[in-house]
Amino acid sequence: MEFDISEEQELLQGMVRQLVENECPLARVREIFEGDSGHDPELWKSLIEVGLAGTAIPEEFGGAGLELLDLALVSETLGNGALPGPFFGHSLAGLAVLLGGSDEQKKTWLPRLAMGDAIGSVAFAEEGSSWQPEEWTLQANGTLSGAKKHVPYGSIADLIVVGTADGGLALVERSGGGVETEPVDGADRTRRLDDLIFDGAHCEILPDGQRASGRVRDAGLILLAADAYGGAARCLEMAVDYANTRQQFGVTIGHFQGIKHQLANMAIRVDPVRFLCWYAAHAFDKIPDESERTAALTKAHATSVFMQTARDTVEAHGGIGFTWECDVQILFKRAMFDRAFLGAPAVHRERAAVLAGW
């Protein structure tokens, strides 16, 4: 038994960390955050160049052929840098095609997604926080009509994987017409959302969609949890840095035990989440019996911890922490996204309860 990531995985994370530091330090994150589209094609290109757009897509389709654990490690690192852009939705769309698509669909789409020739996204949510496959209502019979909410980068995505009635999945090419997008005024400006209205849009059903949709949801939960761990760790680091620089009463505020203990309490919640996320991702890859429930618990736990850590980090910064100027707000809003997207913690804790037979 060995519970640790491999040397290759450490190298992967190191490479991604370097990329984030070089291409998109927080100052650049802020520019994109403030910008209109929330998307920087140059930055996206640099991710594509190192193969991240196809991290979990098999090599035969031009991807890196890695597993969800690797994808989660990438998400963790991107989350740590609050990296803006379509990575999350794009990765899920690729997994949906891979797990639910026909050979033909895989051949058509996976190489394009892996090479970054197409941006993918997922349209799951419907009115009333209906994120789960069993809650989807859109009928897909060659064409698709109806509304989907909170679609990541719905207005720039080329390929949209839509959740349909009976927990199925369908592919819609945005350029095919019949898709209207309405930007959502979202809090997290590093991951933009659009509401979509399909009006007779041409669609293709994924033949194994019903079997895949739960798995795709679970993968999404794990990637959000990993992003949340990365973000929470960044918050903690910011709070510690601030405590070691800001002076009051003639000393750095880290001298005050009140601050020290708040930071220690944050740390004991944040640090273990890393290992929980690894486990959830590993279970997705290797322990199918435990995977669904673990994904639910992990998403609920990791995103709750991130949210609370972001709140504590604002507090630890005093007045400056409460400003738009302070970068903590960017992390705070990522925490809001991670927490609510695919369903709030309470939703997944209840699912975990049901799955345990409680």
Binding site: D4, A243, N244, Q257, A264, N265, D271, P272, K286, A352
Partner: protein, 404 residues
């Protein structure tokens, strides 16, 4: 990353099962022996077979096995399933023995280790004093070398199990002219002598787990010292190294969950089974999230230890995480027992960790007992200082600096 045991370990599991089928519960004549005798014989065989006292050298009564957390996990699972006696816990085995292994004289190891791990002699830990708790290094119990003996005078307090102990491993001030930390020695003291008086203290749970211990010209031989004179503080810290015997109990961090779920199933809340109550379901799942995160932190740590790599600051957090979760479990238990929360309580694990279903009275005791984890062996605030300073790199506590 590989959480499966693999064929090698399944083979090992079959060996352990065969051993247990043969040895526990005892059969024939042996089944007629008094229980402690049965357990003693079983432990002897468990050591011979390489399943017990795995981190302790053969010559001191252990089975000297290579650290292997998978094997340890398999042994734990199978022994628990069979209800067989495991390695003893408690201060003697978990604190003194590792310290002796690291710093003891050869004769000390030979004399003390085997009977300690077999439970033939029992120890208490004489560290805390009325005036020295968190600031342990301020301790005042005096040790004076008179001829070939140390003469010990002073008082210890909160000494768990002193009323049953044969010996005490004790921190004593032997070099009064030295600065605080440098004036302490680590002495071993026979509790069965006229100079030692033990007075049990009644705990809030109603039980008497800990005691006051008075030393009045108590004696111990000159060479019953571990490490050199004045090194006692350092000697008492060496213990930590030995925790890394790869004996992390897989599943230990989630072991309290079944007890809670059991309680929720048989309790009523708002007129229906508590397990159906949305708030309870949320709380159970929330607590489980913390437990799972801790479980995998421990497994990571065990993996790093076995590879001889530094697990990093997560290792500083284990105690606080564990006692925090223990308190959450206890509070949820209290929530579930309803009106039985008016009652005085009943027998339960003193440190408040229910590892299996227990009755409502025991949950009351758990509710109180879980606080012990936040106080004993370095209070939660002291843990936060350690995490903040050594883990996060924040400045040292001003008061602690001055006391240096």
């Amino acid at each position: 990353m590989d959480l499966s045991y693999g064929e090698e370990y399944e083979e090992f599991r079959r060996e352990v099962q065969a051993f247990l089928a043969e040895s526990w519960p005892p059969r024939g004549d042996e089944a007629q022996l008094p229980q402690n005798e049965q357990i003693d014989r079983f432990r002897e065989r468990g050591v011979e077979a390489g399943y017990l006292s795995r981190s302790i050298p053969r010559k001191y009564g252990g089975s000297e096995q290579e650290a292997d957390s998978s094997k340890a996990a398999v042994i734990g699972e199978e022994f628990r399933r069979a209800g067989a006696p495991m390695d003893l816990l408690g201060g003697g085995v978990s604190l003194l023995v590792p310290t002796l292994l690291e710093r003891g004289e050869e004769w000390q190891k030979e004399k003390f280790i085997k009977p300690t791990i077999r439970g033939h002699i029992r120890w208490c830990q004489g560290y805390s004093e009325p005036g020295s708790g968190s600031d342990l290094a301020s301790l005042q119990t005096k040790g004076e070398l008179v001829g070939d003996e140390w003469l010990i005078n002073g008082q210890k307090i909160w000494t768990t199990g002193a009323q049953f102990a044969d010996y005490c491993f004790c921190l004593v001030r032997t070099e009064p002219e030295q600065p605080k930390h440098a004036g302490i020695s680590y002495l071993l003291i026979d509790m069965h002598q006229p100079g030692v008086e033990v007075r049990p203290l009644k705990q809030m749970t109603g039980n008497s787990g800990f005691n006051e211990v008075f030393f009045t010209d108590a004696r111990t031989p000159r060479d019953w010292i571990v490490g050199k004179r004045g090194e006692g503080w350092l000697v008492s810290r060496t213990t930590l190294k030995h925790e890394r015997s790869g004996l992390i109990n897989v599943g230990q961090a989630t072991s309290q969950l079944p007890a809670l779920v059991d309680l929720a199933r048989r309790s009523t809340r708002n007129g229906r089974p508590a397990i159906e109550d949305p708030e309870i379901r949320q709380k159970l799942a929330e607590v489980e999230g913390f437990m799972l995160a801790n479980e995998y932190s421990l497994r990571y740590r065990a993996t790093k230890d076995i590879k001889g790599q530094d697990p990093g600051r997560i290792q500083l957090m284990a105690k606080l995480i564990r006692s925090d979760i223990g308190q959450e479990v206890a509070k949820l238990g209290m929530e579930l027992i309803g009106d039985d929360g008016l009652l005085a309580g009943g027998a339960a694990s003193e440190m408040g960790r229910p590892d299996g279903p227990q009755d409502n009275g025991a949950w009351v005791t758990t509710y109180m007992g879980s606080l012990a984890g936040a106080i004993a062996a370095g209070s939660s605030n002291i843990q936060r200082n350690i995490i903040g300073e050594r883990g996060l790199g924040l400045p040292r506590d001003a008061a602690a600096q001055r006391g240096k």
